[in-house]
């Protein structure tokens, strides 16, 4: 066991949690405004691909990151228009974005790089810098969480965001422009999730590959629900997922059965998911969603 619980585990946890935090905190803005965001996966892929492609051409991760943010914002804007303007079912529209971004990066990389799903590798010096194995985006993830707490509870925008997510009619009656706040919430979610995606492609790795989010968008969504839609608990939930993942990585090939054989990798890989179910059922229980989550605000005018 001592071989598992080391300082390396702490760093590994941070690295693995980073993309989750960005995506989950992003999702928080959207969901706090009342718009379900199952598109985090697609938004991450949009960010990951754009960051890698642009960094490859521009030779600068910073420009890549800016481009990723714009791609995320744009994609989220599409989602927002569908859900807010045209009253699309939020789960369906989000699923559509996810499907779209399984195909779009592949088609684009085919056109740009003559490759059917990935970008070329990017030299190390053009990647997002890291100190002692911890990326600057990991540090920023913490900052973004705290900033989100501040925005949510200490600024007029946050007050409006929360009100719109709980009871849009009341917010409307108070003179808040509900739709605008929701657009803002969804677009911010796209921006942050895209940063999480950029971390995957030009922070943690050095290229984009097909479907590289590998379900992290859904885990982020779970973390958001786990964290009861509050910034700091959500971040902690992401860290928990990251920790579970890190432990399984450290455990693979270390944990032994009584017979002395390795615990089959399939069981090790199951651990984070089983833990989630147990914790959710046993310790967290019901988490109360924002009152108007998933309810479009289209009233008789």
């Amino acid at each position: 066991m001592s071989e598992i619980f080391t300082l390396a585990l702490v760093f590994s946890t941070i690295r693995l949690a980073t993309p989750l935090v960005w995506a989950a905190i992003g999702g928080l803005y959207s969901e706090r405004s009342g718009v379900i965001n199952v598109a985090l996966e697609g938004l991450m892929l949009a960010g990951a691909f754009t960051a890698a492609a642009v960094t490859f051409y521009a030779g600068s991760w910073f420009i890549g990151l800016i481009a990723a943010v714009m791609a995320g914002a744009l994609t989220a804007a599409v989602l927002a228009v569908a859900c807010i303007r045209f009253g699309a079912n939020e789960v369906v529209a989000g699923t559509a974005i996810n499907i779209l971004f399984l195909g779009l990066p592949a088609v684009l990389s085919g056109a740009l790089f003559l490759s059917s799903g990935s970008t070329p590798q990017i030299p190390q010096e053009n990647l997002i810098p890291a100190f002692a194995d911890v990326s600057v985006l990991s540090v920023l993830a913490l900052a973004v969480t705290l900033a989100t707490w501040y925005v949510l509870y200490r600024t007029p925008f946050g007050l409006r965001l929360r009100a719109v997510g709980e009871n849009p009619e009341a917010a409307d009656a108070a003179g808040v422009r509900v739709q605008r706040i929701r657009y803002a919430g969804v677009i911010i979610s796209g921006i942050l999730a895209a940063v999480g995606g950029a971390y995957l492609s030009v922070g943690q790795s050095s290229l984009f590959t097909r479907n590289m989010a590998a379900g992290r968008g859904f885990i982020a969504l779970a973390a958001l629900i786990f964290g009861k839609w509050r910034p700091v608990p959500t971040m902690l939930a992401c860290l928990l997922f990251g920790f579970a993942d890190a432990v399984t990585i450290q455990m693979q090939g270390v944990a032994k059965l009584p017979s002395g054989e390795d615990v089959p990798v399939q069981f090790v890989q199951m651990i984070p998911y089983v833990v989630t179910i147990v914790v959710l059922a046993g310790f967290i229980g019901q988490s109360r969603a924002p009152g108007a989550l998933g309810v479009p605000y289209v009233k008789e005018r």
């Binding site: 690295r15 059917s116 799903g117 790795s205 590959t209 097909r210 590998a214 993942d245 693979q252 890989q269």
Partner: protein, 340 residues
């Protein structure tokens, strides 16, 4: 009109990739390079010459993406009487067996698979089965890894826990143990779904964890996820101008991916094998049956080139060459985990 570019006067070749797709930087990519070379004389990037002449063929490709789309893709070519249909990957074996029976006049080739007549013994006449002894190549890089490792701890990162990947792992481990029976080999897998081939982040974490436990040479057989191992060793940095940790590439020559950090690559000459079978069809010399590519004839092996010449010690190369000789001579039998 469909297939407007079809030109029956030329040899038509259709290739059906494995689920991973032609971009896996692994055996699909190598097969793609082989057919592209036959079509254009260039590598898939369209710029670099592949060193062989183009063969004037019409080339069509499909990435089925799902197991159920393989058969219709293969049949789409067969219905149009293509001259050669190449299936990439052992998983296409059972399907090609059926399709090849329905179209006895069409020639087929399968990479990594073997197809028999209905009696289950005679190799099928219209199918060329191109098989590679990956375990033997893996054995050699295992020897090199063990000879290079200062910590006597090695890493192996596989994509999924499936028979083919175990074949690499087992050969690698046996090669390493032949040098030092007590050497430690940490064997890890990225995931349990197809996403495991495209998760370089996780591949990097696994490699870093192995490095943390002392591994200083990591053999990555995980498609794109394996590239995470390259990032990990690069991040581990250098000491006196020499990398502190090394990675071993797989399938294609990956020595140039991170020069200085790639100890060697366990190559599998799928590209040559594919080019050659196309050429045989063009020249009229196609023969069905087994085409085994082992250490003999350099169907599998390891690469020493300008990128890694200074990284591999002469003793390591000597030991690997000795092992090669013995395997070819049958003095050493490497366990084939896929046959277990």
């Amino acid at each position: 009109a469909p297939g407007a570019a079809d030109d029956p006067s030329r040899v038509e070749v259709g290739i059906v990739f494995d689920i991973g797709g032609k971009d896996d930087r692994s055996f699909n990519a190598a097969a793609w390079a082989g057919v592209k070379c036959a079509e254009t004389g260039f590598l898939p990037d369209g710029r670099t010459s592949c060193g062989r002449p183009p063969l004037g063929i019409v080339l069509r490709d499909v990435e089925p993406g799902t197991p159920t789309s393989i058969e219709p893709a293969m049949r789409a070519f067969a219905e149009r009487h293509y001259d050669l249909i190449i299936g990439v990957g052992f998983a296409q074996g059972p399907i090609m067996e059926v399709v090849a029976r329905d179209y006895p006049d069409v020639r087929f080739a399968i990479i990594d698979g073997v197809i028999f007549e209905d009696d289950g013994k005679t190799p099928k006449k219209n199918v060329a089965s191109l098989v590679f002894n990956e375990h033997e190549g893996s054995y050699l890089v295992g020897v090199i890894a063990a000879k290079t490792s200062r910590t006597q701890t090695l890493g192996f990162v596989g994509g999924m826990d499936i028979p083919l990947i175990r074949r690499f792992a087992k050969g690698y481990e046996e090669g390493a143990r032949s040098v030092n029976p007590d050497i430690r080999v940490i064997e890890n897998y990225v995931g349990v779904t197809d996403a495991a081939w495209n998760n370089p982040g996780k591949g990097k974490e696994l490699s870093m964890a192995q490095i943390g436990r002392g591994a200083d040479v990591i053999f990555a057989a995980a498609g794109n996820s394996g590239l995470g191992a390259f990032d990990a060793v690069e991040q581990a940095g250098t000491e006196n101008g020499r990398a502190r940790r090394f990675v071993i590439g797989v399938d294609s020559n990956q020595n140039g991916v991170k020069p200085g950090f790639v100890l060697t690559s366990m190559i599998k000459r799928v590209d040559t094998a594919v080019y050659d079978i196309v050429k045989k069809v063009v020249d009229g010399g196609f023969t069905g049956g087994f085409h085994v590519f082992g250490l003999e004839g350099d169907g599998v092996g390891y690469v020493v080139d300008e990128y890694n010449r200074d990284l591999v010690s002469p003793e390591a190369i000597a030991a690997a060459e000795e092992a090669r000789t013995k395997i070819v001579a049958g003095e050493i039998t490497v366990t084939d985990a896929m046959a277990q």
